[in-house]
């Protein structure tokens, strides 16, 4: 086994820590190519360097449990603790009431909460209320399981597909969604999660409040209302975008906002959401751009509005909606 001199160890350290100059890099590179053992030695140092700060060790620590402890020790900004403003005698009385009250609370230990709740949507959108009072809408081909972990006091949802959540925020019971190896933690929120197994990304769009989007080994990103977070399953990276496309929620809201959008795209989205098939007799119609809003309209009305806007003819014979007329030139 080769034992390189200490000078080389220092240089390798600089290369790994990205401190090496171009000539130092060359020196290390040349040394590596000198002998197979050198290359192996370099790789070993590289592994030591990488693995020492490996994020794996973070899995030892439980953030939620810790937060429950810390949360109780911080005072809201600029406010006196409410307890200090209550005369002592009432505080004692409250203490007694609490003890009596706890007796009742101990009873429903085997609450139905502990039983997993399964929801699934195959061909239709499903709107439902979870056992904790949170509202959810499942898009087509979506499955979810809700469980309340009594011991950890955590509300957990495992999700496959796409769903919108309107979480009933409870400080004591965090609400966490697990999907495709990543987590979304609610901090008082309404948000949409898109996580189909066949897709290479997981997308979280926040319409109100904020969420925390992370994985076991990546501390992830925070998202506030108006932002969309994307997790790339291949590169395992999180990115944040300053936009939200509210049409993404149309499967639930049936509300569309199109701003100078191609007709082909509009029809594609409407067909997806309603599970219908509006077709264009002339493909060129799809090239036209229109600005239009649809608020909970039927597909029939939507097709009529498009026809009127572009001076087209709508044919709804044979249970199909077909638009025909003059199209627009293809953009170059």
């Amino acid at each position: 086994m080769v034992s390189p001199n200490e000078h080389m160890d220092d240089l390798i350290g600089k290369v790994l820590a990205r401190e090496a100059t171009a000539s130092e890099k060359q020196e290390v590179e040349a040394w590596i190519h000198e002998h197979e053992d050198h290359a192996r030695y370099f790789r070993q140092l590289q592994e030591v360097f990488d693995q020492a700060a490996s994020p794996e060790i973070q899995a030892l620590f439980d953030t939620d449990a810790a937060w429950q402890k810390v949360r109780h020790k911080i005072k809201p900004a600029g406010r006196q603790h409410w307890m200090n403003r209550i005369p002592l005698v009432y505080r004692v009385a409250a203490g007694i009431a609490l003890i009596i009250g706890t007796g009742y609370l101990l009873f429903p230990l085997t609450s139905p909460d502990a039983v997993p709740t399964e929801l699934a949507a195959s061909s239709k959108i499903v709107n439902d209320t979870l056992p904790d009072g949170s509202l959810t809408s499942l898009n087509r081909s979506t499955k979810m399981v809700y469980t309340y972990d009594v011991k950890q006091k955590v509300r957990k949802v495992t999700l496959q597909g796409e769903a919108f959540f309107q979480v009933k925020h409870e400080e004591e019971k965090p609400f966490i969604i697990e999907t495709q190896g990543v987590y979304i933690k609610d901090i008082g929120t309404q948000f949409n999660v898109t996580a189909f197994p066949e897709s290479t990304i997981v997308e979280v769009m926040v319409t109100e409040g904020e969420v925390y989007f992370y994985s076991d080994t990546n501390t992830g990103i925070q998202l506030v209302a108006g932002q969309t977070g994307i997790y790339d399953k291949t590169s395992r990276t999180f990115t944040r975008q300053e936009v939200t496309d509210t049409n993404r929620l149309a499967y639930k809201t049936r509300i569309f906002r199109f701003n100078n959008t191609r007709v082909s795209e509009i029809i594609h989205q409407v067909n997806e959401v309603y599970g219908v098939s509006i077709t264009l007799a002339q493909e060129e119609i799809g090239n036209c751009h229109i600005t239009v809003n649809f608020d909970e309209e039927t597909p029939q009305t939507i097709a009529e509005i498009i026809a009127e806007t572009l001076d087209l003819v709508l044919d709804n014979s044979h249970g199909r909606l077909t638009l025909s007329g003059k199209g627009c030139p293809k953009p170059e």
């Binding site: 899995a59 020790k73 901090i187 925070q222």
Partner: protein, 197 residues
């Protein structure tokens, strides 16, 4: 695989300074685990590491208006944890409180969160190896790997020359490799491919 922690959004930090509990919770969620992992490299005890990080966060909240940050908020947090750990160590030395290492090394094995036994064993080995480094050498290594400081920043903070930082880093890698030699092929197997820089 990247070891670096993505920095928290500047706006979250600003809202935290304005006293918004949500922003504080965000910061906590984001940094709690990496900071515990860092504290663990100093204290080698899970509970102590968590205690230090939790009380640091409580102090952070109490002093939020008066925090003066010269670099980044993230480096501020890491430095805060490092100083708190070094304080604990100093304190323990004075008290001559010496907990047997051997008793503590078993704790990786108790953790079951999505961790194979083999990967846990490796982590234990890496930590054990890190512990055997001479004090200053280990500190340089920690500042580089966990706080991701540049060599000149480490030199400034520890009041040593950049050349000494280079020597310590080289020495840390050499000594740890020596101890982990037999595990290193296994690591490559578990942790996937290696690329040259």
């Amino acid at each position: 695989m990247s070891n670096s922690v993505q920095a928290v959004d500047q706006r979250v930090f600003e809202r935290f300074r304005d006293g918004q509990p949500n922003a504080f919770e965000m910061i906590f969620n984001h940094y709690y685990r990496p900071l515990c992992a860092y504290a663990y490299t100093f204290l080698h005890d899970r509970d102590h590491a968590e205690e230090v990080v939790q009380s640091a966060f409580i102090t952070l909240w109490e002093k939020k208006e008066s925090i003066a940050i010269d670099t980044s908020f993230q480096s501020y947090l890491y430095r805060m944890i490092r100083n708190a750990c070094l304080n604990v160590i100093k304190h323990e030395k004075v008290k001559q409180l010496h907990v047997s290492h051997e008793m503590k090394t078993g704790e990786f094995a108790q953790n079951t969160t999505a961790h194979t036994v083999l990967a846990q064993e490796l982590e234990t080995k890496i930590h054990q190896a890190m512990r055997t480094l001479p004090e200053q050498c280990r500190l340089v290594f920690q500042l580089s790997r966990f706080e991701e400081l540049k060599y000149h920043e480490i030199a400034d903070q520890l009041d040593i020359s950049v050349k000494t930082v280079e020597n310590h880093m080289g020495k840390a890698l050499r000594m740890m490799r020596e101890q982990l030699k037999e595990y290193l092929p296994l690591m490559a197997l578990i942790l996937g491919g290696i690329e040259l820089w």
